[in-house]
Structure formats: structure tokens, C-alpha cells
């Protein structure tokens, strides 16, 4: 059975490995030319480097989806649609063994390929993740939703999950093309749902009450016509901030008090250059902030600290492998009853 499993997989596997090899070569060539350390990494990046950085993110987001859609979905669906399951299931091999061989071979091939791809991209992006410049901006850290699932081990979990999702949907729909479309849709939903609703709760986040002062404040945000601003305090380096809310002395989430709104100077408008000077604004602001702190207001900062990267990676990979196990069980159950 291993022979047949491999014979049916080898073309797709070759394509997959060729694509991974191309990506790895590109990563090694461009990666060697990157500034790889130092405090001013961000300032040394060219626009091309930044484009490559986000290309890496997109490649890692697409790879599992493509694996699920083009390797997983047709795996059994194509057999059911062309009737070849009638040939395969009438050899002296049970359906369970037939499916087990196909699943194990393809899952192993996919895990290794996507693992290698992730290794290349993670290595390439390591100096850039979270790189920031004091003046010109920054790149997202590796714990943020932009790049967390595109680094380290997690892509392997995503890819194996996408593969089994595709196989299961293919078995359900019994048609390749609809199965490919549904797999892409469902997997995209999972990719979005994971950082929104699941990942923040995989490990209990750290909660910290920060008293607002000129040293801790990171920004005051005015939103459109809303007169009440929101405050943001500085978070530990590399942390993934889940929420940053103003609380009163009793610990309740409240809007910034009106006394502060009245106190705080409006930012100078570009069309009114003759407003109060920048120095004056800064002094006024310090006074407002210390009044706010004195009234018992704090910022409650909820975040995953940078050190959680690997624990979260393991947890998320574990979640996807467990889901893959459930999907595999479903596939076996369904194939026995077809």
C-alpha cells in the first residue's frame, strides 16, 4: 500500500518540494545580504527588504491553504468522483489501511516541506521581526498576529490541519472542485479566527496596571469626531498587547474622565501653525497626566509577553494537531460507511 500511496503522491510532493526549495534558495541569497544585527537594523532596510518581509508573511500564510486545497481536498474526492475507489477498495487491503497509508504519507511529506519552508522564512525574518526605529516606524514583532503563525513550528500544525481539513471535506462532498473551494474558505476562516478568538486564551495573558505618566504614555488617540481620547501606555518590548484600557480607582473600565478631556491640549492643526508652542503642549500634557494618575486612574494592560513565543507556538501547534486528529477520525469513520 505504501507503494501506491507514494505513487499517487509523488507528483504533488515533487511540486511542493520544488516550490519550497525555490523559496529557501531565495531566502538564503537575500537573507545573507540583510543587516542581521545591531540596534539600527530597521534604518538599514531597503524598501525591497521590507517588501520581501511581507512576501514571506504571505507565502507562509498561503502555503498551508494551498496544501489543504490542492493536496488534501482531491486526495479522496478524486477517487470517489472517478470511481477508482472501486479499484482500490477491492484489492486485498482494507479501506482503513488504505486511508491510513495515504494520510500518514501525505501528512509527513507536508509537515517536512512546510517545516523546512518555515525554517527558511523564520531564519530570514529573525533580525527583522520587531525591528524598530526611533523615528521612522517599525516592523511587527513575531508574537503579533501578522507574523506569529508564519514563524517557527506553528505553520507545520496549520499545514497538517489544512491537509486533513481538505481530505475530510473531499470525503463529504465527493467532488474535487467544490471541495477545493470549501477547503479554502473554511481554512481562511480558521486562519482569521485563530488570532482573534483562540490564541489570546491559549495561555493566560499577563495583566498589569500602569499608572499614566510622561514616562509610560505611548500615545493619546483621538478617533474621528469623538471628543474622548483613548490612552495607550508603553508595553514591554516584543509583547503582544491584547487590550490597553483606562480603569478607575475601583478597577472598572471607564472612558477617560471629562476633566482630562478638558485639560488636555488639542494637537496643533496643520492649518493653524500659530497655536501654542510644542513645548507648552508637552508641559500641559504632563500636568494633565499627573492629575489623572492622582485621581486613581490607571491603564490596565493585558498582554502576552515576548517570552511566551515558544510556549504559544507549542500550544497552537498542539491545538491544530489535535484538530487534525479529530478530522482524521472523521475521515476513517466516513470512509468505512461510504
Amino acid at each position: 500500500m505504501i507503494w501506491l500511496g507514494w505513487r499517487q503522491l509523488r507528483t504533488q510532493a515533487a511540486t511542493l518540494y520544488a516550490a519550497v526549495a525555490v523559496c529557501a534558495v531565495v531566502a538564503v541569497i537575500t537573507g545573507s545580504a540583510l543587516p542581521r544585527s545591531g540596534p539600527d537594523v530597521f534604518d538599514l532596510l531597503t524598501p525591497g527588504d521590507r517588501r520581501l518581509y511581507f512576501t514571506g508573511v504571505i507565502v507562509m500564510a498561503l502555503a498551508p491553504a494551498l496544501v489543504g486545497a490542492f493536496l488534501g481536498a482531491p486526495m479522496v474526492a478524486r477517487e470517489l468522483e472517478s470511481g477508482t475507489h472501486g479499484l482500490a477498495w477491492n484489492q486485498s487491503v482494507t479501506r482503513t489501511r488504505w486511508l491510513a497509508t495515504k494520510l500518514v504519507l501525505s501528512a509527513a511529506a507536508v509537515a517536512v516541506a512546510v517545516g523546512a519552508l518555515s525554517l527558511a522564512v523564520t531564519w530570514w525574518a529573525a533580525p527583522l521581526d520587531g525591528a524598530s526605529s526611533s523615528t521612522r516606524g517599525s516592523l511587527p514583532g513575531r508574537l503579533t498576529p501578522v507574523s506569529f503563525a508564519m514563524r517557527g513550528l506553528a505553520p507545520v500544525g496549520y499545514a497538517v490541519f489544512a491537509l486533513l481539513l481538505g481530505v475530510a471535506i473531499g470525503i463529504l462532498l465527493r467532488r474535487s472542485v467544490p471541495a477545493i473551494a470549501v477547503t479554502l474558505a473554511v481554512f481562511t476562516f480558521v486562519q482569521i479566527a485563530m488570532p482573534l478568538w483562540v490564541r489570546p486564551h491559549l495561555l493566560r495573558p499577563t495583566t498589569q496596571l500602569v499608572s499614566v505618566s510622561a514616562d509610560t504614555i505611548a500615545g493619546i488617540g483621538f478617533h474621528n469626531e469623538d471628543p474622548v481620547p483613548t490612552l495607550e501606555v508603553q508595553s514591554p518590548p516584543g509583547a503582544w498587547v491584547l487590550s490597553d484600557r483606562t480603569v478607575d480607582a475601583a478597577g472598572r473600565v471607564v472612558p477617560v474622565p471629562s476633566s482630562f478631556v478638558e485639560c488636555v491640549p488639542r494637537p496643533p492643526r496643520p492649518d493653524q501653525p500659530d497655536g501654542p508652542g510644542v513645548v507648552n503642549i508637552r508641559e500641559r500634557m504632563d500636568t494633565c497626566l499627573s492629575q489623572l494618575a492622582a485621581a486613581g486612574y490607571r491603564q490596565r494592560l493585558v498582554y502576552q509577553p515576548a517570552g511566551r513565543f515558544w510556549p504559544l507556538q507549542w500550544a497552537e501547534t498542539g491545538v491544530f494537531l489535535a484538530l487534525s486528529g479529530l478530522l482524521a477520525w472523521f475521515c476513517f469513520w466516513r470512509v468505512r460507511r461510504l
Binding site: 501506491l4 499517487q8 472501486g86 486485498s92
Partner: protein
């Protein structure tokens, strides 16, 4: 249910439902070992469903089925005992003929590589040819070769020649007969073309609406069925040993198809011989009375 000795397929109250439609209901039958049994019946009689159940491609909704003494597809050993060539004679279009033989060799403990290679050579198939490029007849032959080289105790063929032209049809059935003559395994094949079955089957089973209308050896069926035509007559007045299979009458004349072991003595009848197709059609015609299945034993 315990299968009678010598039955290669035995079902009891077998039923299969697809969602809300029953394809087969309460089917009880036995198919003897050591025969080439032809399964005939009108479309929708449940032939394909029955064969799929026997091969283990489907699981019964109700009742039981035993094939070669075991539950279909219950394990690798049971799968090895039964060969099945499905209606559309599926092959992997991306694999070559040689790949198919390799597949068979890897997946079947009793695979007869010599037989497979000889048959492919005799058919003039190029082993390097992709199965997707074969003609319908060649594909059917490849599927049959795989079924034969597996060396099953029972080979099930579902409408194997339906898509073939008359020449390919003859070659296919010829190949099947040669293999049976050599190895003496049991064959169960379905067709709605009796003429095809007549060439290979020595045993016949007519299935109408999940019920066995008649089953028996072809020779016996031919010897015991007669067409009687003569002056109009009530079928109830026929001798007790003459079972009326089908009856048609005009104002002055009656034509009956009857089954009897006894000679026809009444001089009023013109007695006609029936072909196998006539017998089958008599049982399949709407006028044929449903009756409990009677088994013809020599």
C-alpha cells in the same frame, strides 16, 4: 443465518437504502459455488446494489449477506477472496498498465504476476501506456485482468461489457471463459443483455424488484420452459405440473410460457422451444405473476 453448503453468496432479508430511497428490500437468495452465475433483471431491480453489497463496497441497511463464508470486506483475508470489477471498470488514468499490475502485486497476497503479464501481452496492451489513454474495451480488459490475477474465489462483474462494442464484448467474455475453464473459480456477473450472459453463464438468476423471480442452471431452464400456443383457454385449466410464467391471449388464441418437468402431452398445443432470452423476458414481463422463488434443481 448459516449459508447452505456450497453457496458462494447467501443473503437473508437484505436491504439497502440510499437516504430515503430503497434500492434493495428484503432480498433473500443463494448463489451456488463453482458456477458462472448470470444476474439479470430490469433496470432498478437492485442488481448493482446487490453486487456492491456482495463486494463490500456498500454495507447493508437491513438483513445479512455472506460471501465465501464471511462478511463482505470485513478484512484483508475476505477482500482477497472476492474480486470485483465495477460497472465503469475504473482504472487510474495517470498510472500505466504496468503500474496497475504492480499495484495489484503489492496489494494482493495471491497475485498471479505470470497470469497478469501473459494476459496483458495476449491483449496486445503496451505496459507503458497510461490507463487514461486506453480505449473503453482495453480498460475493461485491464480491470478484468486485475480481477483475475488477484485469484479470488469469487469474481463479481457488474455489467462488464455494457460499454463495449460487439467485438470487444466477445473478446472480454472469451477471456473470462478461458480463465474460468482454467481455474474453476465462481463468477457472478450482471447484465441486462441476456445474449451476453448466454455465452458465458451456466446458471441464471432473474431479479425483479429485489425478488428472485427464477434461478437455476441454464440447461434446465431451457429444458423445462415451453411456449404453448393454441385455441383460447383459461390458464387455470392447465395440468397441475405446468406452472404458467406468462400468459397472453387474443379472442381466439392463447399463448402461455409454462414451466414443467413433464412432457407436454395435450395435442391441442403447438409447443415451441424458448431461447434463454425468451425465458428471462417471460419472467421479467409485467404480466408475469409474482410467485415465490422456485429453485430448479437437476
Amino acid at each position: 443465518m448459516s449459508a447452505r453448503e456450497g453457496a458462494v453468496v447467501a443473503t437473508h432479508g437484505l436491504g439497502k437504502r440510499y437516504r430515503r430511497r430503497w434500492a434493495l428490500t428484503d432480498c433473500t437468495l443463494e448463489i451456488p459455488a463453482g458456477h458462472v452465475t448470470g444476474l439479470v433483471g430490469p433496470n432498478g431491480a437492485g442488481k448493482t446494489t446487490l453486487l456492491n453489497l456482495a463486494a463490500g463496497m456498500l454495507t447493508p441497511t437491513t438483513g445479512s449477506i455472506e460471501v465465501c463464508g464471511g462478511r463482505p470486506a470485513s478484512g484483508a483475508a475476505q477482500l482477497a477472496r472476492v474480486g470485483y470489477v465495477a460497472q465503469d471498470t475504473p482504472t487510474y488514468s495517470g498510472l500505466s498498465v504496468a503500474d496497475h499490475l504492480r499495484l495489484g502485486a503489492r496489494l494482493n497476497p495471491r497475485w498471479d504476476a505470470g497470469l497478469a503479464t501473459r494476459r496483458i501481452a495476449a491483449l496486445g496492451l503496451d505496459p507503458a501506456q497510461k490507463a487514461g489513454r486506453l480505449s473503453g474495451g482495453q480498460r475493461a480488459q485491464l480491470a478484468l485482468t486485475m480481477g483475475l490475477a488477484k485469484r479470488p474465489e469469487l469474481l463479481i462483474l457488474d455489467e462488464p461489457v455494457a460499454s463495449l462494442d460487439p467485438l470487444a464484448r466477445r473478446e472480454f467474455l472469451q477471456g473470462l471463459m478461458e480463465a474460468v475453464a482454467e481455474d474453476g473459480f465462481s463468477v457472478l456477473l450482471s447484465s441486462h443483455l441476456v445474449a451476453d450472459l448466454e455465452r458465458v453463464a451456466d446458471h441464471l438468476l432473474v431479479l425483479v424488484d429485489s425478488r428472485v423471480r427464477v434461478t437455476g442452471e441454464v440447461e434446465d431452464l431451457l429444458a423445462t420452459h415451453h411456449r404453448l400456443s393454441g385455441p383460447r383457454r383459461d390458464p387455470a385449466t392447465l395440468p397441475a405440473d405446468q406452472h404458467v410464467v406468462s400468459a397472453s391471449s387474443t379472442d381466439v388464441q392463447s399463448t402461455f410460457v409454462v414451466r414443467t418437468d413433464q412432457p407436454i402431452l395435450d395435442p391441442a398445443w403447438t409447443v415451441g422451444r424458448l431461447t434463454l432470452e425468451d425465458v428471462v423476458l417471460a419472467y421479467m414481463s409485467p404480466g408475469a405473476e409474482p410467485r415465490p422463488a422456485l429453485e430448479m434443481v437437476r
